[in-house]
């Protein structure tokens, strides 16, 4: 298999901080590769080294077969980058910004104007095309920055948290667009701390914690250990301590990792017998309000593998980005 990105033993220190502590990765050509980790894990630092904006302290980088270790800018014509910050020119309009970015890659005037219009349209910014970038809202800036990163149609695309700060509908649209690019053969290197996004989009995922890759595999393989696990979330009323304590004995095949007066989580290796459980509770005066199946997610895997709480990755949860979360009944 040919690889678009091959990285061996990459390290980077900033004074006392080791931002990247020996990362090795191989991203197959055409793959959508997710790079997941909590804040400060070293994701952005890794991307700056891969894109020739910083030199690694040790290690080697090959992009599209080119040695970028000693010549960091060797692969600039094959890559597109959407940085973590929306860094277009505030004094240029959206349209001018896109045209300028296309010109940096040697695209001629007619073509770049056409592409700029097309992208403004695709990102829902046509109406704002004549307005200065400096006056855009945060989400609009983000969208234009993503557009600017793909205007030259690079075969390898680096996306550093592309959906952060974008509303639910636009984020979904953007994910679709990323999937489309991948479908056309673009290799995508995506960092995010939005696990569900990675689970939905990516072929392969690496978990990075404190500058190290703690696990790297295909999403299917990562989900394997939790796949045969069944989980049920039950919302109830009037669950007293005695009944709760007796449940594990009454249902020996089930585990109850969460047992509270108003809710419980039931897990098992075999399908959970919902009806007997509900009847059992009902007979003991516990009202079952809702019972829904919980699908094991990459988040569960991440927590198992890294030993981190989900909250460590939750920076993006608050802004409505997790659209559709929990709707797996």
């Amino acid at each position: 298999m040919t690889h678009a990105i091959v990285v061996e033993n990459l390290t980077k220190r900033f004074d006392s901080v080791t931002a990247v502590a020996g990362i090795s990765l191989a991203v197959p050509q055409g793959a959508l590769f997710g790079f997941l980790g909590p804040n400060g894990a070293g994701k952005t630092t890794t991307i700056t080294m891969l894109t020739g904006l910083a030199r690694p302290d040790t290690g080697t980088i090959r992009i599209d077969g080119l040695d970028c270790t000693t010549r960091p800018r060797a692969a600039q014509d094959r890559i597109g980058v959407v940085p973590d910050e929306s860094n277009l020119y505030p004094e240029l309009t959206g349209f001018e910004n896109l045209c300028f970015c296309a010109a940096l890659y040697g695209i001629d005037r007619t073509e770049r104007r056409a592409r700029a219009r097309e992208l403004l349209d695709a990102f829902g910014l046509t109406g704002a095309g004549d307005r200065r970038f400096g006056g855009y809202s945060k989400g609009m800036k983000r969208r234009l920055t993503v557009a600017a990163g793909i205007i030259h149609r690079p075969p390898i695309l680096f996306l550093d948290e592309p959906t952060s700060g974008i509303d639910v509908a636009s984020a979904r649209q953007l994910r679709q667009m990323i999937a489309t690019l991948r479908g056309k053969g673009t290799t995508v290197f995506l960092t995010t701390h939005h696990i569900e996004e990675a689970e939905r989009l990516c072929d392969r995922v690496a978990f990075i914690v404190a500058g190290r890759v703690v696990r790297e595999d295909t999403v299917d393989a990562l989900l394997e250990p939790v796949r045969d696990r069944h989980a049920l979330l039950v919302a109830c009323a009037g669950l007293d301590a005695a009944t709760a304590a007796a449940l594990p004995r009454a249902f020996p095949g089930l585990e109850f990792p969460l047992l509270e007066p108003d809710r419980m989580r039931v897990e098992a290796h075999t399908p959970i017998p919902v009806a007997p459980l509900v009847r059992h509770l009902d007979e003991r005066g516990v009202r079952v309000l809702e019972a829904r199946r919980a699908r094991p997610t990459l988040e569960d895997v991440f927590i198992r593998v890294t030993g981190l709480e989900a909250g460590a990755l939750g920076a993006d949860k608050g802004n409505g980005n997790s659209g559709g979360k929990g709707g797996n009944a």
Binding site: A54, R73, N87, G106
Partner: protein, 246 residues
């Protein structure tokens, strides 16, 4: 061809967003006029003295139109990280830096012709002006001033530092370059310093091409200026590779 499209658009963008902005243009026009007025008042001279002031004016206009402007705009883009886009572009760093300095060089040259043009039109006929040599001189002065700005931009990280550092360099340069005080009259200790500054050769060549009163051969002046350009550009590029892709 692709590199050329990138080069041209970087240059054009900088001209539009920085150099040809009304405040900047009016500053470029006003500054030489005010400077001339100030000297005339001080020396109590009439319009005839303008010719004697011209070389200094030209040098000041170029220096002030390029160095800090370039240092500030590059530092600004670096700070706001839009400069990263340029570093990501598939063009050699040399081309990128020439494009970045091109606007300042052009603007500096236009600035140089403002005082000379005004003088030629309104004040005196200037029989001794060697226009070809003058243009070549002004180009080299503008290039070396712009590259000095680039050198400053690479050495600092804040916009105010760029401003301060440019002033720190260009004001002493103005006084040591022999335009306003002849170098022989400077303290003996300072004289070698004068000859280590690009503007000294620029000023001498401008004096030669405008008034026919140079103290060194034109070829030496232009050669020294070209050497300064090469040195500053080389140093800046080395620093960019070391500090910006660190």
């Amino acid at each position: 061809m692709k590199t050329w499209i990138a080069f041209w658009n970087i240059l054009l963008k900088d001209m539009r967003t920085y150099y040809l902005k009304p405040p900047n243009v009016s500053w470029g026009l006003l500054f030489p006029l005010v400077w001339t007025g100030m000297f005339l008042v001080r020396s109590g001279g009439g319009l005839d003295d303008v010719a004697a002031l011209l070389p200094g004016l030209v040098a000041v206009s170029v220096l002030f139109g390029t160095t800090s402007m370039l240092a500030v705009t590059v530092t600004f883009e670096k700070k706001h990280r839009s400069f990263e886009r340029l570093l990501l572009a598939p063009i050699p760093l040399e081309v990128l830096m020439l494009a970045k300095t091109g606007g300042a060089i052009f603007f500096g040259m236009v600035n140089a012709f403002v005082p000379l043009g005004l003088a030629a039109l309104f004040v005196a006929d200037l029989p001794l002006v060697a226009w070809g040599a003058f243009t070549a001189t002004v180009l080299l002065v503008a290039v070396s001033s712009a590259f000095l700005g680039l050198f400053i931009a690479v050495a600092v990280s804040e916009v105010f530092e760029a401003q301060t550092f440019s002033n720190f360099l260009r004001f002493p340069m103005l006084f040591l370059c022999g335009l306003f005080f002849p170098i022989e009259r400077l303290p003996a200790l300072l004289q070698p310093l004068s000859y280590a500054l690009p503007l000294t050769y620029g000023a001498d060549a401008i004096r030669g091409t405008v008034l026919g009163a140079a103290t060194m051969p034109l070829a030496l002046d232009l050669g020294a200026l070209a050497a300064f350009c090469a040195l500053l550009f080389g140093l800046s590029l080395r620093n960019i590779r070391r500090r910006w892709i660190a």
